[in-house]
Each structure stands twice: as C-alpha cells, then as structure tokens.
Amino acid sequence: MLPAAAIAWKYVLAGTPEQSPNYTTDEHWWSMLIDIPKCIGCGNCVRACQAENDVPDGNFRTWVERYHVDDWKMENPEVISPDGGKEGFPAATDESGKYFFVPKMCNHCADSPCTQVCPVGATFITPDGVVLVDQTYCLGCAYCVQACPYGCRYIHPTKKVADKCTLCYHRITKGLTTACCESCPTGARQLADLKNPNDPIHEFLKTHEVQILKPQMATGAKVFYNELDGSVR
C-alpha cells in the first residue's frame, strides 16, 4: 500500500491538493513533540518555516532560544536568539553551567486564550486541533497577539493581519509532516497525532519526563517538551 504522502503527492502535482483523499478532520488531534536533548541549534527549522510559509524577515512562526543556566543564577538564565536562531548561534566557549536549545512555536492550545479574545471570529481551533487565522476575516486589531502567553503571533507587516504557525496545515492534511520536522536533522521535532493510537507519542509520553510551557496558565498546550529545564519561561 502506498503511504498517504505518496497518494496525496499525486494531487499536489496535479495542482488540486485540496482533493487529496483519506483526510477526515475528526480523526486527528495534532500536537508536536520537541526533544530538547536532541536540538543542536542549527536553525534549520526556522529557515524551513520561512521558506515554506513565506514568513517575512524579522517575524518568526518558530524560533530557537539558547539558554545558559549558570550554577549561581538559576532564576535568571542567559537567553539568546539572534535573528530567531535562523543562522545558528555563536560558538559558546564558557564551559561552566548548563546550555540547551529550546525551539519555540505556537503551542496549538486546546483551550487557547488567543481564539477567545478575537472579536470577529477570525481565529479558531479546527476540529483536528490546529489554531489558525482566517486572514480574509481578520481586522488586525492584535488582541490575539497580546493574548498569546507564548508570544507566538505577530501582525504581518504588509498584510496587516495576524499571522502565526499553521502547523503546516497545508502539509499535514496531505499526509506530509511539517516543514520544521521535515528539515530537522536530529529528529528533535516530531509531529504527533494524539488521536492515532499507533502514534509513537503515546509511548514517549509514558516513558519520558515531558512538560508543556506555562502549564499554570491552563491553555491546554499541545507542544510537548522532553527534559524541559525548570528555568525555561
């Protein structure tokens, strides 16, 4: 049997990707797993996202932060993200303390503050769990930009409407993975379908120490971080 991606690819080539079969929104609940010990801070995901989604320079749908937690400043780690980590990071020479990279993106919250504040119904969560913006309906009031506790939204500089990660909705509905997962060389990012009983995410969540960002905000975030350090905000 052909993999779903190969079947969908025929329709992509034919210029009618929306006709790809085998996709029912009710059968999926998308999330992402980010394996922090695997991230090397190469910036491939940031570049891939910009290429796939025509993200304007200076705005980011995903970006990578480098943390340096020194022994004596746990509460105040040094965090850098030069140009979103798009061109990688300067070499670190200070061997003391602990370094790690944290790729960030929209958490596709099940109970998202951003969709709740939209006054016109231009942003919403799809039946398969992806938070999207209807840019033909958005007024550009930026309430959602303020409401997102993770800073994942921006106002598009030329379209003047809210823009954000779509979890590559145009790809995942055709059996492909997201551009950031496709281009991650170490497998630090994995697209996961929580409604698919055969998805390896279930076993991973059971056997690893997995956290979400800002759990105290009860957003129902669906981007899971393996071995997340307590200093990450």
């Binding site: 190969a6 690819w9 992509v12 090397i40 290429a51 796939e52 119904g121 055709k174 496709e182 060389p185």
Partner: protein, 160 residues
C-alpha cells in the same frame, strides 16, 4: 370583550420591529459568509483555503521515489535519519518537474551549520572546530555527505 380602540400605536410599533428584524435578516444574509458557523464561531471555508496553500518541501518520501541509489547509501550511515531537504533545501519544484535542477550545495557552509564545535551543543553530538580539523580542505575530501563515516575511497558512494 377586549377593547382594541386605543391599541393602534402598539401594532404600528410592533410592525416597525418586524420590519427592522426582516431588514436585519436580509443584511445578515448578504454580509455573513455562507460557511460561517459550520464548525464554530468562524468561517468554515477558511480551513480548506489554508489547507490549499502551496507546498515547498516535497518530503523525503517524494525524493526517495526516484533517488533510490542515494537512499541505499544513506540508510546504513550516520545520516540515515537526516531527511533530504534538511541539507538540500525545499525542492517541491524539482519533485514536480525533474527538469528543474537544484543548485549545487556548498559543504563548507552546510556541514558546519550542524557540526561546528560549540560548548552549547549536546555533548554526544559530533562537533569539529573546522579550521583545525580539516586544515582548510573541503569536508567531502574525506566524508561523503550521504554517509559521512570515513570510508575507503574505493567503496561505492565513498569519498573520491
């Protein structure tokens, strides 16, 4: 019997309400998009519009359908898990029309993107200080990018 003599003003008022409501419904019919409310308080058609955006990364399955020889070299090496477009960049156009030939890659830029030494990288990840490591020679002098372990120059797919 109820006396309706002095109630005309109430009926006129009610009629005004009915007319206003009908006008509201007519305006609403034209202003609110057809699919609004199909799944929730948003335009349902937006989902299919967003799903129809163009693809730039073909996905490694599409590459492997033709480039079986590369897959064979890759699958036993350290780069088995690195998908094609991680280094080659988005190539849906090439997958769509193989006559579009992708640009030649520069290993001097690509390899160090991941493998430049930095104290911040995970300790087990192979890293080199490029200047000291290769003495200025290009990486592919010794390493074949699809299977980067050091191999004899005569091995298939090995360094030339």
């Amino acid at each position: 019997m109820i006396n309706l003599k002095d109630t005309g003003h109430l009926f006129r008022f009610a009629l005004l309400f009915v007319i206003a409501f009908v006008v509201f419904l007519i305006i609403r019919h034209f202003v609110v998009p057809k699919s609004f409310g199909e799944y929730g308080h948003y335009r349902g058609a937006a989902i299919t519009e967003i799903a129809a955006r163009p693809i730039h990364f073909a996905g490694h399955e599409a590459c492997e359908a033709c480039h079986i020889d590369v897959l064979d070299v890759k699958k036993t090496g350290k780069h088995a898990g690195v998908h094609c477009e991680a280094c080659h960049g988005p190539l849906a156009d090439h997958a769509n029309d193989p006559s579009i030939v992708p640009a030649k890659l520069d290993t001097a830029v690509l390899c160090v993107r991941c493998h430049a030494a930095s104290a911040a990288k995970p300790k087990g990840f192979p890293q080199v200080a490029a200047a000291d490591h290769s003495n200025g020679l290009p990486c592919e002098t010794c390493h074949q990018p699809h299977s980067p372990g050091l191999v004899p120059a005569t091995a298939p797919g090995g360094a030339k």
